[in-house]
C-alpha cells in the first residue's frame, strides 16, 4: 500500500518519468543459456499465469471482436470493430458512460477521497475512544457484503425509508430518492460504503509525516489550512495518487450495490457501464457486445489512471 518507497522524492523534486531506465548490470553480456536456466524456477508460475490469467484475457479480447451470443444463433463469426461501432451509436451506451463518469466523480473522486482524508485528519487529533469508535463504524460499512449494504441503503433511501422519516421529523420535504435522483442515491451509497478504504490509506500516510515539519510550520505561523495545503498535501501526494487510482477502479466496477438498490432504473437513470454490460451480455445474450463494452470500460479506467499519474506525477 503505502510503504515508504526507497527513493523518496521530496516535494517538488519532479523526476522525469520518461528518463532511460537504468540498465540491469548483467543484461547484455549474459549468455542466453544462463538466463534461461535462471528463468527455470519461475517457469511453473509463468505457465500457470499464462493458462489461467493471460489465456482468458486474450480470449475475452477476441470475443469482443465477434458476434458471439450465449444463445440464439448457431455460429459466431469475426465482425471486426462492429461491436464498438454499435456501442458509439447506441444512446443507452452513451448514457451509461455519462452516468459512470458522474457516479465515479461524485462517489470516488469527491466523496470517498475527500471524506476519507477529512476523517483521517480529524481522527489524528481525536481522543483514543473517539478514534476507535469512528474507525469501527466506518470500517463496518466497508466490510459488509455488497448485497447487504445495498439492501440497507435501499431501506434508507426508499420512500418509507429512514432518510425520509428523519426529513419528516425535521419538517423538511421528503421525496423518493431512488426515483427522483437515483444516480445520486447510489453515489451516496458508494461513499458510505467505500470511505473506510480511503480513511485507512490516509491515516497511514498522515502518520508518515514527521512531527518536526508540522511543528516548524506552526512556529512560522502557518494556519491550519495553509499547513494542509503547503505541507500535508504535498507530502502525501503519492498516497493521494495511489488512493485515487484504486478508488476509481473499484468504483468503476461497482455492480451489486446499484443492482440491489435500483436495478439501473428507473428507466436507465442509474444504469452505469457494469449494469449495461450485464444487461447486454446476460439478459440479451450478446456476449460479444457485452465484452466489447467491458473493454471500453477498461479504457475509461486507464484514462482516469493516466490523468492521475500525470497530475500527481507519482509512481505506483
Amino acid at each position: 500500500m503505502t510503504t515508504a518507497a526507497p527513493q523518496a522524492t521530496g516535494p517538488g523534486a519532479a523526476k522525469s518519468p520518461s528518463g532511460p531506465p537504468p540498465s540491469p548490470p548483467d543484461a547484455p553480456g549474459v549468455p542466453l543459456r544462463r538466463s534461461l536456466v535462471r528463468a527455470l524456477p519461475v517457469s511453473p508460475a509463468l505457465v500457470l499465469l499464462l493458462l489461467f490469467l493471460a489465456g482468458p484475457i486474450v480470449y475475452c479480447v477476441w470475443i469482443a471482436f465477434t458476434d458471439l451470443q450465449l444463445t440464439g444463433q448457431a455460429e459466431s463469426s469475426f465482425v471486426g470493430l462492429e461491436n464498438f461501432r454499435t456501442a458509439f451509436q447506441d444512446e443507452e451506451f452513451l448514457n451509461a458512460v455519462w452516468l459512470t463518469l458522474v457516479f465515479t466523480v461524485i462517489s470516488s473522486l469527491i466523496g470517498q477521497n475527500t471524506l476519507g482524508l477529512a476523517l483521517a485528519s480529524l481522527m489524528r487529533r481525536a481522543s483514543k475512544p473517539v478514534r476507535t469508535l469512528t474507525g469501527g463504524i466506518v470500517i463496518t460499512a466497508w466490510v459488509l457484503p455488497e448485497v447487504v449494504a445495498g439492501f440497507l441503503l435501499y431501506a434508507f433511501f426508499r420512500r418509507e425509508g429512514t432518510l425520509n422519516a428523519i426529513l419528516d421529523w425535521l419538517h423538511l420535504p421528503s421525496q423518493n430518492w431512488l426515483f427522483t435522483l437515483p444516480i445520486l442515491a447510489v453515489s451516496f451509497a458508494n461513499v458510505w460504503r467505500g470511505t473506510a478504504f480511503s480513511m485507512l490509506v490516509y491515516s497511514a500516510a498522515l502518520n508518515e509525516i514527521p512531527q518536526e515539519v508540522t511543528e516548524a510550520a506552526e512556529v512560522d505561523g502557518a494556519g491550519g489550512w495553509r499547513r494542509m495545503w503547503h505541507i500535508t498535501l504535498p507530502m502525501i501526494r503519492r498516497s493521494i495518487g495511489t488512493n485515487l487510482m484504486l478508488n476509481t477502479l473499484q468504483t468503476l466496477s461497482v455492480f451489486g450495490l446499484i443492482w440491489v438498490m435500483t436495478r439501473g432504473g428507473p428507466g436507465d437513470k442509474s444504469q452505469t457501464l457494469p449494469l449495461f454490460m450485464y444487461e447486454q451480455a446476460f439478459q440479451n445474450s450478446m456476449i460479444g457486445y457485452g465484452t466489447a463494452v467491458a473493454l471500453l470500460l477498461l479504457l475509461v479506467g486507464s484514462l482516469f489512471s493516466l490523468i492521475y499519474l500525470r497530475l500527481l506525477r507519482t509512481e505506483v
Binding site: P21, P22, P24, L32, S35, L36, R38, A39, V42, S43, L46, V47, L50, L51, A54, G55, V58, Y59, Q69, L70, T71, G72, Q73, A74, R158, R159, N176, L178, F179, T262, R263, G264, G265, P266, G267, D268, E279, F282, Q283, N284, S285, E315
Partner: protein
Amino acid sequence: MPVRPTAARPTALLIALVATATASTACGNGSGSDPDTVKVSFKQSTDNSIHVMDDYLAGVKKQFEKENPGKKVELVPIKAPDSEYYTKLQQMLRSPKTAPDLVYEDTFLINSDITSGYLKPLDPYLAKWPDWNQFMDTAKTAAKAEDGKTYGVPDGTDTRGLWFSKDIFQKAGLPAGWQPKTWDEVLTAARTIKRKVPDVIPLNVYTGKPVGEAATMQTFEMLLYGTDDAGSQDPLYDRASKKWVAGGEGFKDSLSFVETVYKEKLGPDIEDALDPNVMTRVRGEWLPKGKLGIALDGSWLPQDWLKGSGHEWPEWSKELGLAAMPTQHGQAPGKVSMSGGWTWSIPDKSANPDLAFDFIKTMQTKANAQKWYVANSGIAVRKDVATDPAYAQAQPGIKFFTDLVASTHYRPAYPAYPKVSTAIQEAMEGVTTGDQPVDQAARGYDDALKEATDNQVVEK
C-alpha cells in the same frame, strides 16, 4: 518499481499461448458418461425451504430405476435464480463433455436454444408415444420451433387473469361475481373503486423495465393479444415472413390502456410501480392486506400464500375473486390469457437421448403429471388431468386457470424476443411516467425493434 524483464522471449510466450488455446478448446467426444445413466439437469429453488421439485424428481427417479433394472438416474440440480440458470445451462449445453441428457427449459428462451442448435427435435419419439395425444393443442406449441418440429414436452403451464378483492368490491358496490366483458369495464371498475374506496390502489398492472418480463407478459401481452391486431395470428411476430411486426393500432391501444391507468392514478404510485420489488409487494403486502382492488397477475400467486411461505394466507380463496381478462371490445373468444411454463428437452449433445426420453415418459404419465401440477401450483396441459375432479379440487382457483388454457397464447419467444420484450418495457415506461405520449412511445418501439431484430420488421 521497474520490473526486470524475464528471459522468456516473445516467441516462447506465443507458443505457450497457442498451447493454452488448443488445450482449452480440445474436443472431447461423447459425454463420457455411462450409457445406462441418464443425467437430468433442473433448476433448484434458491430458497432452501422449498424442495418441491427435488422431492418430485427423487420419487420419479425411484420409480424409473425400479421399472428399468440396471438403469440409473443422476439428478444434477442447478441452484440459481432464473436468469443465471439460463446462463449456466447454455454453457453446459455448448460441450458434449458437460451436456446433460435431459434439461429443464423455460419456454421464454427455448427457441433461442433451438436456434443455437443446443436441442434435439423430439418428433420421432413423440410419434411413438400415445400419451402425446393427451396434451392440449395449445400446449403442444409451447416448444414448437419455426421449423415445425417440437423440441420439448411441457410439464404444465401457467395462465393469467384478474384477481380482485371481494371486500373492496363490496365497499365500492361492485358485484361479487364480477366478469368484465371489455377493457372499458375493467377501467370503469377501477374508477369506481378510486371514487368510493379512496385509500386503496384500484388496479395494479406491471409496467416498465424494473419488473422486466412481468411487465411485457402479465400486462402488455395480456392487452395486445386481445386486440384486433391479434385476430388469427400473432400480433408481435409474423410467422409467414419470419419477421417481427411493427406497432399497429392494437399496440397503441394497449399502450393507451397503461397510460390511462397511471395518468388517472388508478394504479400504484408511479415510483412504486417502477420499484424492482413491486411484485413482492403485490403478493406479500397489497393483496393479503386488502390494499389492492384488482391485480392483473399470474395463476401462481397462491404458491406464496401456502403454509411455510413467510406470508401465509389460507383465507385467500374466500377473500379474492377471479375474472378472466377480457378482449378489448369483447371480440371472440371474449377472454385472453398468456402462457409460459417449462418443458423437458433433450440436448443435441446428449449421450443417451433414448434413455432420456424414457425418463420423460415416466415423468409424464397421467399420475405423475397430475402429482407435479398440484405440487408445483402449475396448470395442467394434459386433457385427462384437466378433467379429473381430484385435480380440479386440489386447490381453489385451479379449475378457473385451467379453463383459460383453451384461449391462451404462448409468446413468440424467438431469439430476438428478450430484446423485443425490453423494447416493449421501455415504451410502457415512457407512457407510465408521462415522459412520452403514446404515438411517440410506439415510434420508439418501432425503432428499437428494427435495431433488436436487424431490420427484420414488417408493417401490418
